[in-house]
């Protein structure tokens, strides 16, 4: 039987399938849904009155107020809309790195597809933008279950090349999407923190809820290497021959500093930072992350 999606893994779904992703703030959906919208709509929850304007549906006139004030007032209710989420996935060459069985890109893909599954399962919409130095693929949000397969297909076909240029890509991405959406960025963040800051600032401007999955390979973090190694740089970096033992400490320190700066950038831009170590099972990471969302969710 043909496998429908490479990255939709039953073992992961079986563990996290029951979770629902709710936005931590109001979102602007395109259809009525289960999530609080910044707009007044016509749901059951009363929000207030306003004067009748020509063109308003007369059925919403509050006659009790008319009797008291002798003016036409329209009854307003809080709008409830669906969650529109956007995946913004880094497909630069560096994402192809792996020290174990799974590359950072594969790990990111598992994350993306599983999240898509969870979003669309709640009838919310999920779109995706794949970028390296620019957006190379974009799929508008859809609440169709087909989205899972469409996104998965895009990810399966993606060829990680070129360098990461997150600032420009995020600018472009922000132009394409609306406002107040859930933006999930999945990247190894091998970029200048300023780039990330610029990009995230743009998203913050549009009141998006942003989550950054920082994908890291365990070897990148711990640098458990020995002997003389010729490091062949991805993303068009050159080559470097080094005694691994001699640079380990400096490297680990530098990487930790970089990660710390990424986290600072995230904090400044109200972005939730999630460390995604490829040495850790995707299901475990997601369970932990989704649990934390449940406990910290606020409206």
């Amino acid at each position: 039987m043909k496998k429908l999606s490479k990255y939709l893994h039953p073992a992961i779904i079986s563990k996290v399938g029951a979770y629902v992703i709710n936005p931590k703030s109001v979102v602007e959906g395109n259809i009525a849904g289960a999530h609080k919208s910044p707009f007044h709509g016509f749901s059951v929850e009363f929000a207030g009155h306003r004067e009748y304007m020509p063109g308003d549906d007369t059925k919403h006139i509050d006659w009790n107020v008319y009797y008291k004030r002798d003016k036409y007032f329209i009854k307003q209710y809080e709008a409830e809309t669906n969650l529109v989420s956007q995946l913004f996935l880094d497909a630069s060459e560096s994402m192809n790195f792996k020290s174990g069985d799974i590359s950072k890109l594969d790990y990111a893909n598992y994350l993306a597809v599983t999240l898509t599954y969870l979003i669309t399962a709640a009838r919310d919409s999920m779109g995706i933008g794949v970028f390296n130095d620019k957006i190379v693929e974009y799929l508008p949000p859809s609440n169709s279950r087909q989205s899972v397969y469409k996104i998965s297909k895009i990810l399966e076909e993606i060829e990680p090349v070129k360098k990461t240029a997150m600032d420009n890509s995020l600018m472009d991405f922000a132009e394409r999407i609306g406002r107040r959406q859930l933006v999930i960025i999945i990247s190894d963040c091998l970029l200048r923190p300023q780039e990330l800051h610029d990009g995230l600032s743009r998203l913050r401007y549009d009141h998006h809820e942003v989550v950054l999955f920082h994908v890291m390979d365990p070897q990148e973090v711990d640098f458990n290497l020995d002997g003389t190694i010729r490091f062949k740089g991805m993303e068009q970096f050159g080559e470097l021959k080094l005694d691994a033992r001699r640079v380990k400490k400096a490297y680990v320190k530098k990487f930790a500093e970089h990660r710390h700066r990424i986290m600072e950038v995230c904090e400044k831009n109200n972005t939730e930072y999630v460390a995604a170590n490829t040495g850790r099972p995707v299901s475990e990471l997601l369970m932990q992350y989704l649990n934390s969302r449940l406990t910290h969710v606020s409206r």
Binding site: T228, I229, E235, D243, K254, F255
Partner: protein, 713 residues
Amino acid sequence: MTFLNTALLWGLGLVSIPIIIHIIRKNKVIELDWAAMEFLFDIVEEQKKRFQLEDLLLLLLRIGVILFLVLALARPVINSKLFGLGGGNTIVAVDDTYSMETRSGTKTRFDRASEAASSVISGMNSNKGGALVLHRANPEKVIGSLSGDLGLMTEAVNNLKVSDFHGNDSAGLKTALDIITKEKPAGTSLFFISDFQKSEWANPSPELAEVVKSLKEKTDIIFVNVGDTELNNLSVKELRCLQESVKINETAWFTAKIHNSGTEDNNDVPVYFSVDDTVRETVSVSVPAGQSTSVVFKSSVDIEGYHSASVRIGIDSNSKDNTAYTHFKAYEKLKVLVLQNFRPTNFDEKRALFVDFAMNPYQGASSSENALYKFTWANVQALSSEDLNQYSFIIMDDVRAMTSTEVKFLEDYVREGGGLYIAMGQNSDVDNYNRVLHKEGKGIFAWPLMDTAVEEEEEGKYLNVQIENAKHEIWGFINSEEGLTGLRLKKAFGFLTTASDRAFSLMKLRSEGDDRSLMACFTYGRGKAYVMGTTSTMEWNNMATLPVFLPFVRKVTSWLMEERFGEPEVYVGSGYFEELTEDKARAEFELTSPSGNITSADVTINDKKYFLNIPSFKEAGIYKLQERGGSYSRTFSVNLDNKESEIESLSTDELKTKYSPMGIKVVDIEGISTITSGNNTSDISKLLLILAALCWLGENLLTVLIAKRGQHG
């Protein structure tokens, strides 16, 4: 800087190993695609200089480990003279015995010894002292106290020549020990340069071991072997005149012994016999390996007085021992006085005629023209009436008795070197003899005559006798005492033997419990007396019929005349000592050596007695001792000690086997430079080993440090 083990310097190539490993390790890399390159570039940029420095340091330390290790094994030495350090005092002992004249190729052993000594001296530190000693039986201190004058030492070595002395294994070392004991220098090396003859050095004597032990406590001993593989050497071992005295214009006989101390036979060796430096006879002889051949020469002289004779062989590996010397005195006549109780008037009454025949084996005996010895018969009163000194020796034949006055003249004669031959007979008065000749041990007889005689047990059964002191020169003509078979003694008093240093017995009774001496020899002053202590009924003709009579008489008379007419055997290294009469006490004597050097001979006084003292003869050849303005003269034939003719040397390896366990360093002529340089240089191998260890330690520490800093710190 020089190296004691230069062969190990090839190991310096190993220095390339760490370089190769360094390069290989640099090239043996794992390739890895890496995403976070920027961080690595940053690190390299930041720490590039440190990495390079560490790499360089590691490489240098690894090179250092091997470099210093190899250099240490090669034992480099630096000339500490340049730094004014090291180089202790040096004593050079050079063997100048005549075996060193052995030639192998173009150089003699002594040539090599001189080069070795010069090499040692050139390596000496002038801040320290040096001494030069000649090793031989009579060692000599050429420079006897430690001197920093290297020029003086070099000049002394250049002036050295091979001597005629023979060797003594411990003599040179003892002399060096004397210098060290006297001067007590710190840090001394003794270079002993010799050919190390097998005959002398194959078995270290206890005396040598003792000297080495004493020396080792104070100095380093280095044996420098300049010997070679030469084995074959011919030498003239002996030359002597067969007669005790030579008559002018009569043939004199000489015998020489040619010895082959090598391993190859020598055939047709020319031997030249000379008298008074004129070659009289040349013969060709063959000498088998390891054996001697005797050659007999004859010659005559027509002038009375001393004559020299020599035997020389052709040139061989060692020319020093190719000549032997002797000398003899030629006379027209020598007088012999025969005393009897009465002056014989006819032939039959000359009881000692057989002695005359034995001494003058010609028809008519002493009356012959050819006879050397002229016998004069007289009665005992002649002792006081005649000038006894004109006689070569005196025979007393069955003299009954003597007066004290007569004996006094006799004593004077003997004391001054005269010879006395006493044949006692049936008329001899034992009591008188004991009274005037024994005089309680103060007379010519050291022993008293026994007053009771032993007699034959029955008619025709003679006394059973046996000889004593069979090795004495008088018995040199017989192979065993059986040679005296037929000596028939019927009755004898003999001498009561007591402890005396001037008496020995030649014959005694072959019966237990009776030690009386039947033939006794006494020394008295410089003279000698032979006494046949019997009062036997033996007739002269009875003994004269024995075949041994003639040689016996000649041996006895030769022994008696030895002081006056014989010349002592003198060897190079031996001395001469003679008590002088008082009238010679103020005389001056000069000694002329074979090479013509004239030196004064000392007269020394000891216990109110005057002695002519020649400490040692230094050359082989004929020496002449002459009183200045006086009549006294003597001639000495000085010959080499033949032991030194065994020229075979021990190899350096053999020397090492024997002497290294005694703590002596042994080197050959080629190895001396390393020792001399070692003596004046400092061996820095230990320092290099320490450096190698430090490099190794440093390399490990740096590696650990780098790894630790890279991973944790």
